[in-house]
Symmetry: C2
Subunit: 342 residues, 2 copies
Amino acid sequence: MTALVNQQIVLASRPAGEATVDNFRLQTSTVDPDALADGQVLVRIHYLSLDPYMRGRMNEGRSYAQPQPLGEVMIGGTAGEVIASRNPNFAVGDQVVGMGGWQQYQLVERHQRGVLQKVDTTHVPLSAYLGAVGMPGVTAWVGLHTIVEPKAGETVVVSAASGAVGSVVGQLAKARGCRAVGIAGGPEKCAYVTGALGFDACIDYKAHGDLKSLARALKEACPDGIDGYFENVGGVILDAVMLRMNAFGRIAMCGMISGYDGQPIPMANPALILVSRLKVQGFIVSERMDLWPAALKELGGMVASGRLKYRETIAHGLENAPEAFLGLLKGRNFGKQLVKLV
Amino acid sequence: MTALVNQQIVLASRPAGEATVDNFRLQTSTVDPDALADGQVLVRIHYLSLDPYMRGRMNEGRSYAQPQPLGEVMIGGTAGEVIASRNPNFAVGDQVVGMGGWQQYQLVERHQRGVLQKVDTTHVPLSAYLGAVGMPGVTAWVGLHTIVEPKAGETVVVSAASGAVGSVVGQLAKARGCRAVGIAGGPEKCAYVTGALGFDACIDYKAHGDLKSLARALKEACPDGIDGYFENVGGVILDAVMLRMNAFGRIAMCGMISGYDGQPIPMANPALILVSRLKVQGFIVSERMDLWPAALKELGGMVASGRLKYRETIAHGLENAPEAFLGLLKGRNFGKQLVKLV
């Protein structure tokens, strides 16, 4: 083989308010599979994972993660195949997941231990390792187990319920004997949440223009109140859920996508935390690496046996990644948003 | 003895906005110490405890406690002496604490087990059982132990730091090897907090008119950030503290006095719960009765040995209870607010 052209997307500028395609730039580099240094592995990326957290990293300033550096390849999870290796742990043809970023080829150095994980695609498709059996699935598992801690018979609500994280939250809650109620945008997503995913109810937030209306819908969908809430969205949805939380309810703060674009969105009535003796806790899945093996084992088993359903929205070609990402931020995706490169 | 006149204060009306003396009404009833039924105990109340939670109960509508019923004696903690008894568990002269309410005499029925607790005033003054060695002290202990869980070397901040709860929070945090930082209103209270109480620093919130100024003062007083926060106040103070919380910080929500009078006060930036992976949790001390014995043992020992300091503001005469209570809501008290009846 001769040197390969490696298309890459870098962060060109930071968004002022809403992110746009102009914040990204396509560039090319080259990589020569025949000229690997000792210990290097070259991966051809088949799928990019697009995730809401990436929007947070596009901003400068304090967040839990380092900001995405300007002019560098957008960071992100990837799944692909080893096409060249001078590392005894990886062979050509191995299916792997890693943090390859928004590019066609990922060159892994010898010292980057743990960056690449071999995966078994016999019973679980490669792309699922970026969704239900990957970071989003583990996020659902960790938030549910360490913060929401649902008991059988309790009611668990999750926002962005048709998404990569939310869909797993509800299905895991159902598997633990809970009433699972989703919140999603539009009748099609809601039908999927209660149909294919088996949630007990789903509220279309787009059909409810204000706090009161949303709170009323939650009351109807959750006749026994809400014991656990898995928050992916923030804003008025959080306010409405808080009004319906039972005493000693638990709220796992996983995402606040509604506030990424501008000024912080306040919580309307924090005194409810006291009145209802709530626990509201933020978490980041990458800080609970100790739980990943148990989570992946359960999630992989459930996907392999067909008990854990998921859906993917797939964009094609690296050049379409920015557009697909912006669509994700607006909820235009349906399930896990991927970009297929091969 | 003949029948005694029992002055009582009842809730006459619910506040519309700020509470006023007109919300209360003085009335009298009689009680005959010579005509007790079998099992009854009659207590002469020496001290009423005035506490911020009472303001919440004056409102109608959903809260963690039943609203104070209109036309009935204001509920509240009391300390006094048994003056007549037909109950083998209590003798005339016993010093007792209970929930006698805003009145001069408390008649306890035989079936009201656990309502009266005998206390030992050899080393601990009777009034302290309404403060540092009573509900406020246990509130500090429970919030600190079950939610803030401070480790030696960490920084713990508490609002209303010179008050009955806050003063104990900081002294317990110090005893556990933490840096204790108070927030209080005015230079006199702050001097007391750092002087007599031994906190490491105290911020006068009245000297800081906005969020930025308050956050700057917190940065100065907490050079290593804030690991634990004990919230008695809410509003802008909570917002400022949240800006300075370290990753994995814990916030115990004990009181939100700033929002009792009217519309809920929002939390400016709840996304910080996610960004800093905070745990924000509300609690009510009466729901952790299992912890009272251990808490009272430690607090009683510390008061008896002089290691736990406290201060009292004492109003005299039942008729002055409403005025004293309204002063407490405005922070005019200094330390534990009591009404002395005898």
